[in-house]
Symmetry: C2
Subunit: 424 residues, 2 copies
């Protein structure tokens, strides 16, 4: 099992980076160090709504003995033509607006009479309703130190600083920083396109009528959802009948939109296991590196597995077993790490933890096979749900963890500490 | 702050449920108890590739003294016309294929000679290459108990059982179960459509040239990404200039695609804070329940906040402050819970934990305001990154946690245990 995973991770390579619009790069891995082109803030600006003043003019000011200054106008955010603030003058200034020449500090509007000639005010009246607020006189009730309520140019980041390192995963705050330094696009590894198809002549699409001997296709739905959950763009092809030629041509058709192909079913030892049959001749047979190898792994569920590459571009393909629980567990153990490797993520595995087994009777496990049982995890304890059968989908839907029983253990007593894979 | 959040959560109602295709419902909350219409498996079927036999025919069989049976044909998965297995007979059977009438158990192909007349085999040859495998004789080397390697009808779920309860969040395993019981569509609360717009005449789109007094719009990018992260379908409108009429008409235009509107900027006490100005007259003024209330909260960052509803459908609107860190923290504390409430999720808040403050000097915090500082959390410890300034985007991009300093604390010593919001 470990060897199979190692082979997959040694073969699958991160996708070639592309330049993406910022919001299309969400969740992707940056491949370049991003340098700050222009300092942030790009200019000294006010952190408050208030008045830009000279320090000497407001020295010693109090509500009883205010400094009375002449308002020379407004400085709004985004304003390019700046007033000059001379001795005895103030400019009304808004949060984010550039500190005008001559001014040394900002006093918040709450420290003034707002130009109304009465007591302290709680804010400014809208300019559109009261344009006279940008003129007249203002009484300032408190002194201000130099640079008070001023955000200095470059106090966030400086031009030439490294904003983000290659390898960073772009979440909302990283996207905020990239936008703030003016980056509209960014070079990242794209999300892999994963094509999911299930095989089996017994499979019927949900909502259709079930005939004798038929069951509903659930694997193609489950794995498409799981591939998305892992970060991929997933395409569900649906169920293909057990006919090697049909399967081969379906896979060849789908290659054009696949960075990774995932099939379920048809990998065991039966006479109609057409995935094995078909995959030896997909793509160019003469080219090195092509072909899919089928293995029997020492694990339960998920014993039969196939892995290799198909088609002219050697598109990686994972062939999972067809039992619903087997295919889902195989996805978690093998396909999810492959998808996350394609994305260039460092952290490709589900988190694991140790937990105390909470159960009435001992768990049994076949000798020589690593078993993955479904369970629910909470507060350091894990409780098995359902049995070991690979067809038990209802129990799988209640589980949030896999309980790992090592190869050598054939029985695990209640209260034993076990390894648990958290399905998140 | 708590009151503001309570008002939001008391006002925002989960969206009306709709019927969605299974894969479109991923991550959504189920609003109905789903009952199993037909038992799973729907018929007794084989869990192995092998031979369907009668128990008496293989009693006492061994490799030295095999039971030799006549192969009456193949039973493949999905096959409707079943053979009858009489005394002395066997049907070759594939995993998932219905147990044919007359047969009582399945022996795996590895317990037989596969019809080749030699020792035990490891599998079957493909039917297409060796059709004779479905006929002739097979030697069985081991006995089988009744029902061995047979999955019984209904052993996973039974018709009438509750498959999933209302309130379940649909992840891959739940989607697997719904597909398996034949549900192609399901009734869920849809993802909310969230329209994000930033306001400010100083804002320039990334990749464009920055003029004097201008900065790049980062809030609309950050909050669109954050809204998606919370589960929403998010639309980024971009930056609107500080003009009440433009803002009002933009909001009215966008209402058609909004379950929730989020604005940034223009909510403070300045003379150009047009969000306040514009939002009193959006939609139908005469209708009850319309209107946005602006508040000053005892928190830092994020002091000025607006919340209410706009337009004929009383679309909820959250007006966040414009400083990048303020808007992001406000999103985490107020908008994310609102989005998750719209989705019908139980768990609307980010997880919090206690952590030991790892820092060289004491943190300071204004009296009477709950402060949210940015930090990095690991192994029970949290380390502040950057200062308290609301414009420090670079530090925000390094953080994965918010450190909460309560209203009454003005200083927090290194080593103190603090509350931490994990940004995940």
């Amino acid at each position: 099992m470990t060897e199979h995973l190692e082979d997959i991770l040694a073969t699958v390579r991160p996708l070639e980076p592309i330049e993406l619009q910022l919001l299309d790069a969400q969740g992707c891995v940056l491949v370049e160090d991003v340098t700050v082109p222009v300092s942030l803030p790009p200019f000294d600006n006010s952190s408050m709504d208030g008045y830009a003043v000279r320090v000497a003019d407001v020295a010693g000011a109090s509500e009883g003995f205010p400094a009375v200054l002449t308002v020379v106008g407004d400085v709004a955010a985004g304003q390019a033509d700046l007033l000059h603030v001379g001795p005895g003058q103030a400019a009304r200034i808004m949060t984010g607006a550039p500190l005008p020449p001559g001014a040394e500090a900002v006093v918040p509007v709450e420290w003034t009479d707002g130009g109304l000639g009465e007591g302290p005010v709680s804010g400014m009246r809208a300019h559109s309703a009261a344009p006279e607020g940008a003129s007249g006189q203002v009484s300032v009730h408190r002194p201000a130190e130099a640079r008070a309520h001023v955000r200095a140019l470059g106090s966030d980041v400086r031009a030439g600083d490294r904003a983000l390192a290659a390898g960073t995963v772009l979440g909302p705050p990283q996207i905020a920083l990239l936008a703030a330094i003016g980056r509209g696009t960014v070079r990242v590894r794209p999300r892999p396109r994963v094509v999911v198809l299930s095989t089996g002549s017994e499979l019927v699409q949900p909502d259709e009528k079930l005939g004798s001997g038929q069951i509903y296709d659930s694997n193609s739905f489950a794995l498409t959802a799981a591939a998305r959950d892992a970060g991929a763009i997933a395409y569900r092809v649906g169920a293909v009948a057990d006919d090697a030629e049909t399967l081969r041509s379906t896979i060849e058709d789908q290659l054009v939109r696949a960075d990774l192909m995932v099939t379920t079913g048809g990998v065991s030892v039966g006479a109609y296991d057409v995935v094995k049959e078909a995959l030896s001749t997909v793509g160019d047979e003469d080219e090195a590196g092509s072909g899919v190898e089928f293995r029997t792994l020492a694990m339960q569920p998920g014993k039969p597995q196939g892995f290799g590459s198909v088609g002219p571009d050697h598109t990686p393909l994972l062939a999972l077993p067809g039992n619903p629980v087997s295919s889902y567990v195989s996805f978690e153990l093998f396909v999810r790490p492959a998808i996350r490797t394609l994305m260039g993520l460092e952290d490709v595995h589900r988190p694991t933890t140790r937990a105390v087994l909470r159960t009435d009777k001992a768990l049994t496990s076949p000798a020589g096979r690593r078993q993955f049982l479904r369970g629910t995890y909470a507060d350091g304890e894990v409780t098995p749900v359902g049995g070991a059968g690979s067809h038990l989908i209802a129990a799988l839907a209640q589980a949030d963890a896999l309980i790992v029983v090592p190869e050598d253990d054939t029985s695990v007593e209640p209260g034993t500490e076990v390894e648990v894979v958290l399905l998140g």
